[in-house]
Structures are given as structure tokens and as C-alpha cells.
């Protein structure tokens, strides 16, 4: 039978290609890219930091290793931070220099290969929750400076927690296939014709700071969509907003000062306050960047091609006018003046701290109120430049209907948005907490 034969042949062909590809993938998985190739011309740490340990510390912060490897309040870099993914939970590893449970036995090459190729000392692929797709662009020097810093810290004996993943996601070897397709093992290359600051910002944003890991939308295979860099994405129940140069959807309308303030202090007047995962980034990483690096980052972000995704930002002037018109009275307002106005003030200006100002924030203009409900349910805290800013959580004592009403009221009153959150939406979001 002709048709039958064709089908068999086709299947055979697919299987063959599959096998060849798998062999290729498994073969190349431990390959970190051309290590001898030209290293990035930019260095991740300011030139005036010469002490190797200080340099390593600066880079470790810029790469925000602590975000994933330090449990809040726990020993630094001892791992164990859980990441809830749609298909299970994985835990970060101990990256202190402990010989049994950490990376004490890793050679320089092992460590560099881990960041460039996403494999562990034994060559087993790591899950791409570890942002090696970004770190692969780092220079060897910078990576080794980080390693030296980590090795200078007290060790922690903290055995890895077993991941809790369902089949097929618990098949690590499969990551090799993913890498073969999606991991471009290339070092950062400066763009000729762009100012030095721009290039430095690009290196900070794409390689060290790995902004895209959260802010760039992902495709069906969970790889970053490269055509849409920094156009905004949803993860872990939060929205990482569009931070392209689009005026309505991104940060195009922000002034340089506002951007720098936000990055350095977690708050830009009339623009927003960092909370949730972004709050952690400011707390652990961005607040420690030098002023020059911050302006470099700003210079780069300014220039990111505009994208239309995500929450749009009505012109600031319209916000106030729209406020009263759409504000829903009743339950939401009642709750707001009781539990919220103490800090935010009933006009949302923020009472004792700029951080409490709601004006202009994207979280109050997002009709889905994603980050807003997150903050209301779970609270928020930010330790920045000696300031301790916090908001208590209200999830425990307030009902779904109350939180929905409150969120809708805030959207209407301060964001000029018709909030349509229902109690069951809130119930759904609670599950993700």
C-alpha cells in the first residue's frame, strides 16, 4: 500500500530526525559556546571598584543571585527558595562554597559553564528558571568575580530540596532539547555606534540584570519571544509591566529622573512603587547600582523599541478627572476609608510616605487589578536605603467580595478604570498565593 508506506517512511523520518536532534542536543548541552571568542567589551562592575571581593559583590547584586538563592531571613545563598510553576514546584540550590551541599567543589570552568550553558558540575541540565539564557552573555571575568565573592562568604550546609514536578517536566534531560532550540550561547556584543553608556546599560539589563526573564513575554515553549523584548508578561500571579519606550504602554512617558528614582528607590512620584517580585529586585539588586550604572540602564531602557502590550497608561492629567466619575461608592469605599486611608489618604495622595501614593500607578490602572489584588491580599514590604516601607496583608480577614469591591473602587477612583473584578476572581487569585 502506497499510502501506508509513505506514512511509515514519514514516521521513520521524524523519528530519525528526532534521534539525530536529541543526540545533537545531548552532545552540545554541556558546551558553553565559544569560550575563546571575544569577551564582552563592557565589564559589569564600575571600573573604580577594584577590590576583587567588592567587585564580586557588586556583580552578585547586579545579577540578583540572592532573589532566588536566599530564603527571606535565611542564610544568604543557601538556596531552598520555592518556585511555583504551573507544573510543580522547584527549589533553588545552595550556592555557598559548602563542599557537600553547595558548590565548594566546583572549578572555575564548572561555574562558568553553568552560567553559559545551564548545566551543573556533572553536566546535567539545570531548569531554565535559572536565567542562564541571559547569563550566557556574561563575560568570564564577571562570572569568576561572582564566584570568588560567593566563595568568600560563610558556607551553609543546606542539602537541596527535592523538586516536586510532574511527568514529563521531571525529565531533566528534556531540557537539553529545549536548550538546543532556544539557548543562544553567545557573549554580549556591544553595538557599534551606540554610546558607551547605552552599551553598558544593555549589558546590565540583558545579561546581568536579566530584565527580560520577567518582562519579556514567552512563547508556548516558555522561551522569551525575542521580537517582543520587555513588552510585559505575567508570572507567579504578578504582572511584570511593559517597560519598552512606548509612551502609553511602557515607560516612554517617564522622565529620566523618574526612571532612575524607581530603579534606585523602588518609587517614582506619580508613576509607581515597586512591590512583589519587582520590590525584591529593587531591594536586593537595583538599589546598590552606582548612579552611573543607573543612568546607563535608563539610557538603554529609553531606547528599547516600543511595544503595545500590557496595561496602557492614560495621560496623567486625565486620571484625576476620571476619578470621581467612575468611582464606585459603597462597600469598596467603605473599606478603603477604614483600612487603607490611614496610609494612602482618602484622596490617594499618600499620607506619611510617598511610597503610599496611588497617583499614576500602573497597578491601579490595570483593569485586571493583578498586582493590586496581590498587594492587598499578601501585603508588601520594601527595604530600601535604610527605609523600611511596608503594607500589611488583608487577605486573611477580608472576604473575596470585599477585596473585589475594594480593588474595583481603587481602580475607579485612582486609575479611572471601570473595575470588574468579581469575588470568584479574587478566590482564584488567592489560590496562587
Amino acid at each position: 500500500m502506497k499510502i501506508g508506506r509513505i506514512i511509515v517512511t514519514l514516521i521513520g523520518l521524524v523519528v530519525l530526525v528526532g534521534i539525530v536532534f536529541t543526540v545533537y542536543a545531548l552532545h552540545t548541552v554541556t558546551h558553553g559556546g565559544d569560550e575563546s571568542a571575544k569577551q564582552p567589551a563592557v565589564a559589569g562592575a564600575p571600573a573604580d571598584i577594584t577590590d576583587p571581593k567588592a567587585r564580586g559583590e557588586y556583580l552578585t547584586r547586579a545579577a540578583d543571585c540572592a532573589a532566588c538563592h536566599t530564603v527571606p531571613g535565611g542564610q544568604p545563598f543557601a538556596g531552598g527558595v520555592p518556585f511555583k510553576l504551573p507544573f510543580g514546584t522547584i527549589y533553588s540550590s545552595n550556592i555557598t562554597a559548602d563542599k557537600d551541599t553547595g558548590i565548594g567543589n566546583w572549578s572555575d570552568d564548572d561555574f562558568v559553564r553553568a552560567l553559559h550553558a545551564g548545566v551543573d558540575k556533572d553536566g546535567h541540565p539545570l531548569y531554565p528558571a535559572f536565567p542562564y539564557t541571559s547569563y550566557t552573555a556574561l563575560s568570564r571575568d564577571d562570572i569568576l568575580a561572582i564566584k570568588a565573592y560567593l566563595f568568600s562568604l560563610p558556607v551553609a550546609h543546606a542539602p537541596a530540596r527535592a523538586n516536586d514536578l510532574s511527568f514529563p517536566y521531571n525529565q531533566r534531560w528534556a531540557v537539553s532539547l529545549w536548550n538546543a532550540v532556544f539557548l543562544k550561547k553567545q557573549r554580549f556584543e556591544s553595538v557599534a555606534g551606540k554610546p558607551d553608556a547605552w552599551n553598558r546599560g544593555a549589558y546590565l539589563a540583558t545579561a546581568l540584570g536579566h530584565c527580560g526573564e520577567c518582562h519579556t513575554p514567552r512563547n508556548a515553549a516558555f522561551a522569551m519571544k525575542h521580537g517582543e523584548a520587555l513588552a510585559g508578561a505575567a508570572l507567579q500571579g504578578w504582572k511584570a509591566y511593559n517597560i519598552t519606550s512606548d509612551k502609553d504602554h511602557g515607560i516612554g512617558a517617564w522622565s529620566d529622573q523618574e526612571l532612575a528614582d524607581y530603579l534606585a528607590k523602588g518609587h517614582a512620584a506619580g508613576r509607581g512603587t515597586a512591590s512583589g517580585p519587582m520590590g525584591e529586585v529593587v531591594e536586593n539588586s537595583l538599589q546598590y547600582l552606582s548612579p552611573a550604572d543607573l543612568s546607563a540602564l535608563v539610557a538603554y531602557l529609553r531606547d528599547v523599541p516600543p511595544q503595545q502590550g500590557g496595561v496602557s497608561t492614560p495621560p496623567a492629567a486625565a486620571t484625576g478627572a476620571a476619578a470621581n466619575a467612575t468611582a464606585t461608592a459603597g462597600l469598596g469605599e467603605k473599606l478603603f476609608v477604614g483600612a487603607c486611608a490611614g496610609c494612602h489618604l482618602d484622596n490617594g495622595q499618600g499620607r506619611q510616605s510617598d511610597y503610599a501614593s496611588l497617583a499614576g500607578m500602573r497597578s491601579v490602572r490595570d483593569p485586571h487589578a493583578t498586582n493590586l489584588t496581590q498587594v492587598v491580599l499578601g501585603g508588601s514590604r520594601l527595604n530600601v536605603r535604610g527605609q523600611h516601607v511596608f503594607m500589611p496583608s488583608f487577605g486573611e480577614a477580608y472576604s473575596d467580595a470585599e477585596i473585589a469591591a475594594l480593588s474595583n473602587y481603587v481602580l475607579g477612583r485612582f486609575g479611572g478604570q471601570p473595575g470588574t473584578l468579581s469575588a470568584s476572581d479574587v478566590a482564584e487569585r488567592r489560590k496562587g498565593l
Binding site: 476609608v337 500589611p392 496583608s393 486573611e396 472576604s399 467580595a401 473585589a404
Partner: protein, 761 residues
């Protein structure tokens, strides 16, 4: 009238306010005892047994009239908002014929012999007893003092004392137009023989009692000058804050204070058995320091205990435990009729007094001084003696105004901890708990699991009634000696053993199921009645519903010969407009009737329940007969405030445990009612000449069933578990069905319960 803060310790010997000392300073000292019949204890109040004719003089506690014109009263009970100072001063002023503004009051020092509250068996303020136990003794004391002063005047003028009158502390002999002030008479009066017996005034002559007088303690409360315990500042004092093992019964294993010590202003880190405190120049330093400690706890036997487990255990005990009989009337067995039964569940509750727990202590080698707002000063001396090893005479307690008590300050645990901390340093230290600590280390109102059932005759009247409560005994830890003969803690059956209703056959019992060791329980505003009245009055509502009767009419029919209860019920019905007009959909009107603390109350409430399940309280009408009213202003305020306290608990508050530790932390998750959730509250007082009943806790008791009965009327959902699960009130047929299917057969059979309930209301 001005209130004095307690004198400094070296000024007067506070341990024994010696008569001699006072007499030396001149003037008349009338001493008396708060005598009111021996052996009455907490949990079994019965004001009727206070014998008004009992002579009430005994040496020591005092009313002092100085030859400088001062009139001083040492207050046996403390002021924590309930107006006790004003009430006590009023009783005395009435009999002395002076103005309230002429009296100075002082907190009593710790001294059980002199100041023990006969209703509580200890020097304690609680159980809505102040006016009940002072009603006789203070009036007698005032009357005796007046007799002696008038006698002194009569002697000087050589006239008949009966011809003398007194107004504002001035004795007048009208026929000769002569006057003398108390100040001028005080010394002479002290030589007059104290009468064996005096009669207090005939109530028709009352000038002050029953008038809506102003409180004596408020001026300093509106300008910020009145110091609470937390405001104490003594020379050289430092400030500390503390964290005890979050798991009850756990211990402190170790603490690394390296980071804490680096914080500017942190002075010292002090450990106790189960807690660690950071002492700083100010609270902020101490708090920062506390947060920077790396503490390891030894979590102990309760490390996996949870409230889920607690309720499982309670249910199990209710079924299989050994009941202790509270009251039996007739025979409940073999009564034929329609049986209705239900199970109720009440949570652990924290007090969350507005003023967080605090104590200031200075331990010296030979003495210990304590500044604290406490409901139990004598017990504070006991624990300080225990911790320091000093004799009780060397311990001074300066009692302070309480920023709310509600039962929390009937426990001296925090004082014990504070002394243990202060004894490790040689300067005075003020220990202030954070709100988080205050919630996490309270003495919680116990959780209860109650099974109640009734057999109805053909008219729907209960002819048999059984009520079994299961829960912990507070009394067993607070005053074990006061437990009943058969092991009964009267608190557990207060207001469930005695009902305002005539029911021929009753059996009320209690299965004792204490909390695991280390998890302390305590008195909470409304004590036993808060728990029992909620259950009984909800269930009576269920019965009315099962009988197809109007809940108010049903109660009226059950009352039997109970005129005081009947009067409050009728007035409440009239004032609230019961049965008049049609309520809109999802609006409901509920009623509750009870006789807690020797008073009679009926509360009617209107609520609206939104389709999303949110409860909006519209209006509350409270009618009270609390016997002789000393101050209607206070009665009204206490009912209003008490109801707000009860609604907070019914709607929002509940303490849950996970891993043996409390999950709630602060007002964001231990929620209490706010101003914009509070309805208008009308209070109507039924005039009465009976002895005064308690008032401070009655509103709290009534608030919960009145609210849940109104919610039933609005939605058809019977709330049998507190706090109210508002998700169960969502207007959604499935949700409604789920709730109803848990309910009694009587409920389930009644079809559209909400509509029925609305029609009935």
C-alpha cells in the same frame, strides 16, 4: 473632681494604708469592708443575695474627710473604661451629701483583705460586678461618715442632729441659721462613736444616683494628660519589647543577638525561659533589635497543634466525655414530640485591648516597684514575690488607668514576665508588647462546641431541653478553689442553666475539655453568657422557626411569670417597630432576649445582607432593665460599646492556631469593627427599683445572637459557627442549599427559608 495619680512609694506606705497615718494628717477616716455575703465567686453572680441591711463597717479600707476640705475615696475596683470610678464616687457622694466634684479618688493598693471583691473572691475587677458589690457597702460607708459629721455638728451646736441638713458638704441648722463645713467637723467627727447601723438614704431622696452625671475621669482623657500604664516614665527608665515562643508551651533554645546589638540604641538582650527581650533607649530601638534577633525555639509538645485538631477533639469529647451536670429540671428522657437539634461552635478570641500589654518594673536588691494597669493588683504582688524572692511587703504596685481590660488584665502573666526581665538589669525598664505579641500571647477566650436539642409539643413549645457545652474551664486555672462540688465551673453554664423561659424539663451539662498544656485561656468580656446566650438565643430562634412562629411572639409565649423579661421584650418590640412594615428582600430583623449579670435585656436588630454576602448593620435597639441605675449615661455607653465589641467578634474575630502558634498578627487580620460599619444604637432603660445588675458586659452578650438571628431573617442561613462565614451568605442557591443541608431536619423541611423568615419578621 480631680483624680490623683498614685502617690510615689515613699510618700505613703501603699502596702497598708494605715489609719494612724491618715488620722495623723487629721480628719475623719471611715473604714469599711466591701462586705456582701461571703463565698460568692466569679461565674455565679447573684446580686439578690447581697444583703443591703448588713452592717458594713470594718477597719481599714477608707473614706477620708480631711480637715483641709478634702474628701477622698480609695477605689476598690479599677477604671478601664466602664465608668466604675464615676459610679463608685457617685454612691459615696450621694450618702455624704457632697457633689461629685468634691471627691478625689485613688486606686486601691494591692490588699486582698481590704479590697477583695466578694463576688469574685479576689481583689479583682470583672464580671460586671463593681456596682453590684459596692451598691451596699459604699452607701453604708457614706451614710456612716455623714452620721458622724452631722453628730459632730449637732454636738457643737448642742442641737438635735435630726434638725440638721447637709448640702455639698455643708451642715446647716436651719432654726438657728448656723452652718459648718465638713472640713471644720472632720477632727471632731473622728471622735464620734461609729454607729452600729445606719440606714442609707431612701431612694426617693437620691440627688445623684440615677442622674446622668458626667464621668469624673474624662477631662484628662481628651487632652492627653491622663497617663495609662504605657505612658509611665520614671527616671533612668529604658524601654524593652519582647517575643515569647510563638508555639505555646515552647521554650527559648538559643538566640544570636549579633545583628541586634549593632543597632544604635539597643542596650541589652535579656532572656527568660521562653522569651527574649531587647532593651533599648526607646521602643523603636528595642523593636528594631528584636526583629534583628536570630532566635531558635524549642517548640515543645504543641508544635503540631491546630484549631482544626482542637475542634475535632472538642467534638469527640462532647460525644464521649464525662458530662458534669449544670442543672436538671424534671426529666428530659422519654418526652414525645418533634425533636430539633443543632450544633454550635465558637472560636478562640483575643482581647486586643487598645492599649497593648505593658509593665514598668524596677527591681532593686531589696524591693520591687511595678507600674501597671491591672484588674488584679494583689496577684501582681504574688508573681513579683515569686520571681524576685522578695517578701510581698517589699513589692509595690502602682495601679494605672487601663486602656481597655475586657478580661485580659485579669491575668498577671505579662507582669511575671516583666519582673523576670527587669530583675536582670539594675535600672527601671518598661516592657511594651508589640500588637503582634499582644495578639500572639493573649489569654484567649476558650473555644466551645455545643450540642443543643429540644422536643416540641404540638404547639411548637419546647417541653424538653438539653444543652451540652464542651470546652475549657478558665476558673480551674484562675481560682481552682472556686470550682463547684461536682467539678462544675459555673461559668460554663451561666445563662444556659437559668433561662428566662419556662421549660418544664431541662438538662444542662458540661464536658470539660481543657486546652493542651501551655495554651492559656482567659476571661473575655461577657464571659460565660457571651458564649451561652449566643447558643441559647440562636436556638430559640431555630425553634420558633421550626414551630412556624414569629420569633418575638414565640419568646413572649415562653416567658411564663417573668415580668422583668417581659417588660424589656415588649418595649423593644415597640421601639423597634417589630412586625410593622415589610422589609425589602435580603433585609432582616432579629431579636435576642436574656438576663445576664443580674440585668434583663432585649435587643432587636435590622440588617441587610448583600448578594455578595456582606452584612450591613442598619439599626439596633437595646432595652435594658438593670435594676437601680446609678448613672444612665454610663449604662447607655456600656451597652453601645459592649455591642460593638460583640459584633466585632461575631463578624470578624477569631483566633486560629497552626503549629501550636496563633496565625493572626495585628488589626489587619484580627479585624474589629470600624465606625463606618457601626449602626445607630438606641438604648432604652426600663426604670426599676431592684438592686443594680451588671452592665459592662451585657451588650456584648446580646449583640451576637441579635445579629445572627437578623441575618437568618434576611437570608435563611442559620449561623451556627462564629465568626460568621460571609461566604455562606452569598446569594447563590447552591451555597444556600449547602448550608441548609447541614442544618436540622426542621430547617430543611421548610422550603424557602429566607422567604419564610422574612414573612415572619
Amino acid at each position: 473632681m480631680n483624680l490623683r495619680v498614685p502617690p510615689s512609694p515613699h510618700d505613703v506606705d501603699l502596702q497598708s494604708p494605715s489609719r494612724r497615718e491618715l488620722i495623723k494628717r487629721g480628719g475623719l477616716v471611715v473604714a469599711f469592708m466591701w462586705l456582701g455575703g461571703a463565698g460568692r465567686v466569679w461565674g455565679l453572680p447573684d446580686n439578690a443575695r447581697l444583703d443591703p441591711s448588713h452592717p458594713a463597717f470594718a477597719p481599714n479600707a477608707f473614706v477620708r474627710i480631711g480637715n483641709d476640705g478634702s474628701i477622698q475615696l480609695v477605689m476598690p475596683t479599677v477604671e478601664m473604661g466602664q465608668g466604675s470610678y464615676t459610679g463608685q464616687a457617685t454612691l459615696l457622694a450621694e450618702e455624704l451629701d457632697v457633689g461629685l466634684d468634691q471627691i478625689t479618688v485613688e486606686h486601691a493598693p494591692p490588699n486582698r483583705k481590704l479590697y477583695a471583691n466578694p463576688l469574685l473572691g479576689d481583689q479583682a475587677t470583672g464580671g460586671s460586678t463593681t456596682i453590684r458589690f459596692c451598691w451596699t457597702s459604699l452607701r453604708n460607708a457614706g451614710a456612716a461618715a455623714r452620721y458622724m459629721l452631722v453628730a459632730a455638728a449637732a454636738q457643737r451646736w448642742k442641737v438635735d442632729a435630726a434638725q440638721c441638713t447637709v448640702a455639698r458638704g455643708v451642715v446647716t441648722h436651719a432654726p438657728t441659721n448656723r452652718t459648718l463645713r465638713y472640713a471644720e467637723l472632720a477632727d471632731a467627727a473622728s471622735k464620734v462613736t461609729m454607729p452600729d447601723k445606719v440606714s442609707p438614704k431612701d431612694p426617693k431622696d437620691f440627688q445623684l444616683i440615677g442622674k446622668p452625671l458626667r464621668r469624673v475621669d474624662t477631662p484628662a482623657k481628651v487632652d492627653g494628660t491622663l497617663p495609662f500604664g504605657i505612658d509611665i516614665r520614671v527616671p533612668g527608665m529604658k524601654v524593652a519589647t519582647v517575643r515569647a515562643c510563638p508555639t505555646f508551651g515552647g521554650k527559648l533554645a538559643s538566640v544570636d543577638d549579633t545583628r541586634a546589638r549593632a543597632i544604635p540604641g539597643v542596650l541589652k538582650v535579656v532572656k527568660t525561659d521562653n522569651a527574649v527581650a531587647v532593651i533599648g533607649e526607646h521602643f523603636w530601638a528595642a523593636k528594631q533589635g528584636l526583629e534583628a534577633l536570630d532566635i531558635t525555639w524549642e517548640r515543645g509538645p504543641n508544635a503540631s497543634f491546630s484549631t482544626g485538631q482542637l475542634f475535632k477533639d472538642l467534638a469527640e469529647a462532647s460525644e464521649h466525655g464525662k458530662p458534669i451536670l449544670g442543672r436538671e429540671v424534671g426529666h428530659v428522657d422519654n418526652v414525645k414530640g418533634k425533636v430539633v437539634s443543632a450544633t454550635y461552635q465558637l472560636p478562640l478570641l483575643a482581647h486586643a485591648t487598645m492599649e497593648p500589654i505593658n509593665t514598668t518594673v524596677h527591681v532593686r536588691p531589696d524591693s520591687c516597684e511595678i507600674w501597671v494597669g491591672t484588674q488584679v493588683p494583689a496577684r501582681c504582688v504574688d508573681v513579683a514575690a515569686k520571681v524576685t524572692g522578695l517578701p510581698p511587703e517589699s513589692i509595690t504596685v502602682h495601679n494605672q488607668y487601663l486602656g481597655g481590660g475586657f478580661g485580659r488584665r485579669l491575668f498577671e502573666d505579662s507582669v511575671e514576665q516583666a519582673v523576670a526581665i527587669a530583675k536582670q538589669v539594675d535600672f527601671p525598664v518598661k516592657i511594651v508588647w508589640t500588637r503582634e505579641e499582644d495578639i500572639a500571647q493573649d489569654r484567649y477566650r476558650p473555644a466551645y462546641y455545643d450540642r443543643i436539642s429540644a422536643t416540641l409539643d404540638d404547639n411548637g413549645k419546647p417541653i424538653a431541653w438539653t444543652d451540652r457545652t464542651t470546652g475549657a474551664s478558665v476558673l480551674a486555672t484562675f481560682a481552682p478553689g472556686a470550682m463547684g462540688k461536682n467539678g462544675l465551673d459555673g461559668d460554663l453554664v451561666e445563662c444556659s442553666a437559668e433561662l428566662p423561659y419556662a421549660i418544664p424539663n431541662m438538662r444542662v451539662d458540661w464536658v470539660r475539655h481543657d486546652m493542651p498544656a501551655g495554651l492559656a485561656v482567659g476571661w473575655w468580656r461577657g464571659v460565660g453568657p457571651t458564649h451561652n446566650v449566643y447558643v441559647v438565643e440562636s436556638f430559640v430562634d431555630e425553634l420558633a422557626h421550626a414551630a412556624g412562629k414569629d420569633p418575638l411572639a414565640y419568646r413572649r409565649d415562653l416567658l411564663g411569670d417573668n415580668p422583668r423579661a417581659r417588660a424589656v421584650l415588649e418595649l423593644a418590640a415597640q421601639k423597634a417597630g417589630w412586625g410593622q412594615g415589610q422589609l425589602p428582600p435580603r433585609h432582616g430583623r432579629g431579636v435576642a432576649l436574656a438576663a445576664p449579670f443580674g440585668s434583663y435585656l432585649c435587643v432587636v436588630m435590622d440588617v441587610e445582607v448583600t448578594p455578595q454576602g456582606e452584612v450591613i448593620m442598619k439599626r439596633a435597639v437595646a432595652v435594658v432593665d438593670c435594676g437601680w441605675v446609678v448613672n444612665p449615661n454610663t449604662v447607655e455607653a456600656q451597652i453601645q460599646g459592649g455591642m460593638v465589641f460583640g459584633w466585632s467578634a461575631a463578624l470578624y474575630s477569631g483566633i486560629t492556631l497552626k503549629n501550636g502558634a496563633v496565625e493572626q498578627r495585628n488589626f489587619n487580620d484580627y479585624r474589629v469593627l470600624r465606625l463606618n460599619e457601626t449602626p445607630e444604637i438606641e438604648v432604652h432603660i426600663v426604670p426599676s427599683t431592684e438592686s443594680p445588675g451588671g452592665i459592662g458586659e451585657t451588650g456584648t452578650v446580646m449583640a451576637m445572637p441579635a445579629l445572627t438571628n437578623a441575618i437568618f431573617a434576611a437570608t435563611g442561613v442559620r449561623i451556627r459557627t462564629l465568626p460568621i462565614d460571609r461566604h455562606a451568605l452569598v446569594q447563590d442557591q447552591n451555597a444556600l442549599k449547602a448550608v441548609l443541608s447541614d442544618a436540622t431536619p426542621a430547617d430543611a423541611a421548610s422550603g424557602d427559608a429566607a422567604a419564610t423568615a422574612r414573612r415572619l419578621a
